[in-house]
Amino acid sequence: MTSAVMGETVVEARRRLREALLEAGGVVGDGKSAAAASPPLQTPFGIAEPVEGREVTAVAVGAPLRESRDAAFADGIQRYIVEGRIGVTPIIRAYVGAAVLDRRDRGLLPAKHEAEEFIVAPLERLTDATVAKLHETGLPVHDCGVAEREHPILDVQLAVQQIEQRRRRAEVSVVAAFRREFPDAWIVVDGSLRAYDEEARESRLLGVIKSHETQFLAGVDLETALTLPEAHRTTVFRRVGGREDAIHSWYLRLWDWVGQDILFGLVRVERQRGPQVLDEIEEICSWLLAERSPMSTPDTRWDRLLYPIHEVENYLKARAGSWW
């Protein structure tokens, strides 16, 4: 079989498959090949129950807000390097930073910034003399705990968890600092509101989640959520479980996903529970739709990454410079 014939056969097979998907009531994807399997998800499932109606439904969102809303945007970054090992125990140098950019009259200006450079290591596995040597570097030294046995990869993952915690702490800190200065300002944070205490969440705080690792819905509700048309939202649901009970959430489709992956242009929005959630949801959705412009290209997550959040990332990267 010549390559041309083989190519025709592949194309034909693909065409037939896509037609079959459509005939079955499905939609076709972007056709991108996956070279490697995604890593296993840490928390793939969560629990939620409807707040707005009895089941999750799709609701059309109004036109994008025409005027720019003054608001602040917060995000954080983290970097780390395995500087060396004592035996098989990793010694990691890390950097975390978080910032708030304040948008006034369509212009973004840095408002708050925190950054920290530190050492992370499983201190239990190190001798006192080694730990003392690490302290002598002048950098703060943090313990990341230990697994049941030494493991060259798992030990690093534990350290990364510690780094992520410190990054989230920095994010919470800059948001709190900004909140103290501007108690009535809207703040949009990148990611979940879980890390923020209830007092912080009481205010005008929105979490915009781009990754959909944890799915709170199931069955028809999930399909409704993940197949939302462009400029539609789901009805509001409540996360269930401990302090998360106070967080209300909904999905919002920013861009048409037909011809793309199912998660294309899909974000999940979180807000502290309260009557204001339903009162202001239409306005918030219109606002977030308007944030599709400017696009955050060339970032590959541009379909879900709000431009101001993208700018916070760029700002933090610029502040970090060529940190190594």
Binding site: R106, G107, R292, S293, P294, Y307, E311
Partner: protein
């Protein structure tokens, strides 16, 4: 001080702070930096160029001078290029979010954008070791910074300054006088000025007029006496340099800052040939109030013959022709010359030369001696006769047939005076002759140090025409090349102007140490000579407003943009409007007017009576003599110069075989 000016017909007053040149404390400059140097592997900072960013709203632009303050190094530079861009990855993304309709959707956030400037280094302090520009803060240059950046302190802030103000550098609220070094503009270190720009918009003539005023004001007396000779080659451009022009308060403010009196030239001498009628002067400065100050420019056979190379083309001037002309110059002109047929000739005029030629042809024919006279072939003699006698026709008005001449005052040139020669109404051949002869005479006198001044500026416009890059190698072009290459040693300086620099001989423009560019044509800027300029600089040049120029000078390592005021003299069009040229008048009337212009007491009737029935050539000669002498009693002098009335009764022909009397047509020879 309070200055007064006119603009749009209104008089305006303005208070001007007069700076004491370099002793003035620098203008207060905001201490805040306006930018910061950035360098990447792709856009590194080098010892000669660097990049910096500023806020979107910034006072600087192309041509602005900036200062970079490093820890142990200060760098001065001029902005030569600029870019603005945002983080937009693809223009299609904008189209997509706007649904293809511009203005349909305004993004809630302005994209991050940058103003990235490129600057060319003017100077580094310390100069050695030469290093890349530090990645430091960038400041707008103060007045003091401009002086240092352009290395002007070496000739302005010294005991005997040689700075010649050329205009004001003005950017971002800072203005600073810019000076040329007289040693590099007028010699001996280097010399010459060249100005390029499109007609009408580049204000080339205005720039030269202003610069001449500045030179006459600031040229150090210790360096000697200076004068300028200007050739008015078109229209009335240079015809009113002694008349005040309209100046706005802004102009007057600039004059005050540059320490130049905004007054017209007070010592201007005008020269122009006659028209073909030999009595009306061929100039647009012919208004009755001004014609008295115009000297006729009249040359005779000797003046022409000395520069025959200008008038005869290469085809005419073969070796045989040149030999015959040399024979005429050496043996015949203004000498007693006895031909083979017994006639003695004294050739001083074209008429007398024609009589010599006639005698040769007649003698050869009568004697049947063949076709050679004194080794010169008759065909050569005929050719030279035709060419030379044709000159008096083509250059009628400039070249006289009667031997009189009226010339520039070589030997008595006055310090800081202008000599304007109006050749605008002349045939191209005559223009070439005037230019060549005047410049040659200047050169001769400067070599002998007896011109009356030590330095002469020669201003010639339309260098495209006189010294073209290609085309025939004319005598005028040779002359311009000679000035360009050797003039500075003599004190002979060329201020040249042209529309297209690329079309002027490269050695003429290349030898000009100082170069100015006004509004330029984009096609011209696309020629190889402008490759060193950035695209932004070219675009600025192509859109320069009147009164702005780009300047290159040996002390400046990069071109600098500057403004200069309107010249303090009446422009050509304004002059023609204020002093409409007189129409040509009949011979008698013209004589009467010219005498009245010399002396208001002269009565028209008495002039008419004196010149009645007199030969026009005699009247012309007497008028020229009177103009040259400028006596107290003009009429009496004119009458004396004209001589007694002589009968014009026909003279009986000489008897056959008798040698004719010498100059029988000259009644005064009797």
């Amino acid at each position: 001080m309070v200055v007064e000016g006119r603009k749009d017909g209104r008089t305006e007053r303005r208070t001007v702070e007069v700076d004491e040149r370099c002793d003035t404390p620098p203008v207060a400059v905001p201490p805040d930096p306006i930018g910061r140097v950035v360098a990447t592997e792709r856009l590194p900072a080098s010892p000669h160029e660097f990049h910096f960013w500023t806020e979107v709203e910034t006072p600087i632009g192309i041509g602005a001078i900036v200062r970079v303050e490093g820890r142990a190094r200060t760098v001065y530079a001029v902005v030569v290029d600029a870019k603005a861009y945002s983080d937009l990855a693809d223009p299609l993304h904008e189209v997509r979010v706007a649904a293809g309709i511009p203005g349909e959707h305004v993004a809630p956030t302005h994209r991050t954008e940058i103003r990235l400037w490129t600057a060319a280094v003017l100077r580094q302090v310390p100069q050695e070791p030469l290093q890349p520009v530090p990645l430091a803060e960038v400041f707008l240059a103060s007045e003091q910074d401009v002086q240092v950046a352009l290395r002007m302190e070496s000739y302005v802030q010294v005991a005997e300054p040689t700075g010649i103000p050329i205009g004001l550098y003005a950017t971002g609220g800072v203005s600073a006088p810019v000076y040329l070094d007289a040693n590099f503009l007028l010699g001996p270190e280097s010399a010459h000025l060249n100005i390029s720009g499109v007609s009408g918009l580049a204000t080339k003539t205005s720039a030269v007029e202003f610069l001449l005023k500045s030179v006459f004001t600031h040229f150090p007396h210790s360096k000697g006496r200076i004068a300028a000779v200007c050739f008015n080659v078109k229209g009335p451009d240079l015809c009113f340099l002694d008349q005040p022009g309209d100046l706005t308060p802004e102009d007057l403010e600039m004059y005050a800052r540059l320490d130049i009196e905004p007054t017209p030239f007070d010592n201007v001498h005008y020269f122009a040939p006659f028209k073909a009628d030999g009595i009306n002067i061929n100039t647009l400065r012919s208004h009755a109030d001004l014609i008295g100050s115009v000297q006729p420019l009249v040359w005779g056979l000797r003046e022409v013959l000395d520069y025959h190379e200008v008038l005869l083309n290469r085809d005419d001037l073969d070796a045989k022709a040149a030999a015959f002309i040399d024979f005429l110059i050496d043996r015949v002109v203004e000498k007693e010359f006895r031909d083979e047929w017994g006639t003695t000739h004294r050739v001083r005029t074209f008429s007398e030369l024609e009589r010599l030629f006639r005698a040769i042809f007649d003698g050869l024919e009568a004697s049947g001696r063949g076709d050679t006279w004194r080794t010169h072939h008759i065909a050569t003699i005929r050719k030279i006769r035709n060419r030379l006698l044709n000159i008096s026709t083509r250059c009628k008005g400039l070249v006289t047939d009667d031997g009189t001449s009226e010339d520039l005052p070589f030997g008595t040139f006055e310090d800081r005076s202008l000599y304007v020669i109006d050749v605008s109404g002349m045939d191209q051949l005559a223009q070439d002759l005037v230019f060549t002869r005047v410049v040659s005479k200047l050169r001769e006198h400067l070599e002998r140090r007896d011109l009356g001044v030590d330095h002469v500026i020669v201003f010639a416009d339309e260098l495209n025409k006189y010294a073209p890059e290609d085309g025939p190698d004319t005598y005028v072009r040779k002359m311009l090349l000679d000035i360009s290459e050797r003039g500075r040693y003599l004190g002979l300086v060329l201020f040249g102007a042209q529309q297209f620099r690329s079309q002027v001989h490269r050695r003429v423009v290349g030898n000009a140490s100082t170069t100015m560019f006004g509004r330029m044509d984009m096609d011209e800027l696309a020629t190889p000579g402008y490759q060193v300029l950035s695209r932004a600089t070219k675009i600025k040049l192509a859109t320069l407003p009147k009164g702005e120029m780009m300047l290159r000078h040996p002390h400046f390592t990069q071109p600098v943009f500057l403004r200069f005021p309107r010249p303090p003299v009446m422009t050509g069009p304004a002059g023609v409007a204020a002093y409409p040229p007189a129409t040509d008048v009949p011979f008698d009337e013209a004589v009467m007017r010219q005498l009245v212009a010399l002396d208001r007491r002269v009565s028209p009737n008495s002039v008419a009576e004196i010149i009645a029935d007199r030969r026009e050539d005699d009247v012309r000669r007497a008028l020229l003599a009177t103009r040259r002498a400028r006596p107290d009693d003009v009429l009496a002098y004119f009458r004396t110069a004209l001589g007694p009335r002589v009968s014009h009764a026909p003279t009986a022909p000489a008897a056959a075989g008798t040698t004719p009397l010498q100059s029988v047509e000259d009644p005064y020879a009797r």
